[in-house]
Symmetry: C2
């Protein structure tokens, strides 16, 4: 099957490489330099199994394949959406964190949109090198009506890269959002690895307060179970630096708008106290703006 | 006049050096190494005027002088207080930030206690070198009954090191505490210089929210005037790294207990919302404990 992957970040590289085991993959990068390097040298994967995947790379967004995986960050989605509006109907899988992309899916009603939840750990080491730091899975749910076929079409039957179908995306998107919203901003601000949020008693206190604000804004029940999930992720990835911490270290724009910005807005609309959400949102934004 | 200065930090070095222009100063350090170096090479002052002051340095706390300036950090006060209890009556000037030392002055009623507010900028560069980064003044107030004599006895008539008398210490202690409580924790957490708190719009938003919480806890009026004072200090010292940021960078224990710890406790006792005070207190404590 011909598959397009949009975005040459850690997740884009990882998905391109694994999917190329069985499919004809084209990776769409933002710049020519990255496309040329991948076209010439392939994508190198370390961590899980060390290998090099031969894949096609382009930097002009033709998106001609039948299935398109969107693996760009939330704040690069706008240009992708403009392009998607012009395309003939396709199956499109969105792999973003947060909720920002979901709110915009009504802009492209002619496509069959899917929500993908990526539970892999991945770290981009260079334009064409990715470290697979945590073996997880990808769960795919239809945004509107449910078609299980997409998973059968995509799945490569590799235990290092399982793909499964989920009927309802809301619970898993919410779980992932909560975990991201707790772990990313705090690790980025404090400059600590994920595990410190549950191992250091003061940081744990803060993480739980933030968690409760987030649950209130999203009107989530089963808080004990949900906190267990968040703490479990922090423990499992205890030695990892979160993507937001890595962005801060590299002085790159973070995904704070997609993660806490959305929650801040929802909290303000609903009149729910959001002291820590607001503080952290402003803090990360402020630190980003220092570098301008 | 014979004057003892307790504490070989930035303020202790600065005061020893200037006071030695007219007085016989003994500087009491915590360790033998620092005392030996100062005894041998004097205290070097840079910034305002570059010179070396010859002073006596000791590391055994005899405190035999008639006037004693206490220039140790809040968290080193306990050992000093134990010693002060044993001494015959003296005039003792406390130069600490915050309120922690004031609450303890009832433990030494036989001494004549004074509150000193230091508005100098000073940076310790080595055991016997201090940079005078901002020329300010020292205001001295009697803790109980007022005796202006102390200022006449101490003052060296140097425009770089003015000493003045203030009848009531409360307003200036409060002003200084508020400025410290806003500037120190935020600069330490964000890793920014003082000026960024008023120059970056998101960090300014946070600084003002924190300021309002502090005013509520301390039941302070004239908030506009007080904010102007805090903003003025941040602007005047815009290129400086706060003492708490320097402590964090050096992985040293900060004065967070004396500054925000006291406010957190008062806020909790009074049932006043203290979201940011609590967050910042826990954050700085958590980061200190990472290094243990």
């Amino acid at each position: 099957m011909k598959i397009g992957v949009v975005g040459g970040g850690a997740i884009g590289l990882l998905c391109s490489a694994y999917l190329s085991e069985k499919h004809e993959v084209t990776l769409y990068t933002r710049g020519k330099e990255q496309a040329d390097i991948i076209q010439k040298n392939g994508v190198k994967v370390f961590g899980s199994r060390n290998w090099t995947a031969k894949i096609t790379a382009e930097w002009t967004p033709s998106y001609k394949e039948e299935i398109i995986l969107i693996a760009v960050k939330q704040h690069h989605l706008s240009t992708v959406f403009e392009k998607l509006k012009e395309l003939p109907p396709k199956r499109i899988v969105f792999l973003q964190n947060g909720l920002g992309h979901i709110d915009r899916l009504k802009e492209i009603p002619h496509h069959e949109a899917y929500i993908g939840i990526v539970e892999h750990g991945a770290l981009k080491l260079s334009f064409n090198t990715v470290r697979h730091t945590g073996i997880g899975k990808i769960s795919i749910s239809p945004f509107r009506e449910g078609k299980r076929q997409i998973v059968e079409d995509l799945d490569i039957n590799d235990p290092l890269f399982p793909i499964s179908f989920t009927e309802d995306w809301k619970p898993i998107v919410m779980k992932k959002l909560v975990a991201n919203a707790v772990i990313n901003p705090l690790t980025a601000l404090f400059g600590v690895r994920n595990g410190q949020l549950v191992e250091n008693s003061e940081l744990l206190f803060i993480a739980q307060k933030l968690f409760l604000e987030i649950c209130a804004v999203l009107e989530l029940k089963k808080k004990e179970e949900l906190w267990e999930y968040v703490a479990e992720i922090a423990k499992k990835t205890r030695h990892n630096r979160s993507s937001m911490l890595i962005d801060r270290d590299n002085k790159k724009k973070t995904e704070i708008d997609a993660i806490l910005g959305v929650l801040l807005q929802k909290g303000q609309q609903k009149g729910i106290p959001i002291h820590l959400i607001e503080f952290l949102y402003k803090a990360i934004k402020g630190l980003e703006n220092l570098e301008e």
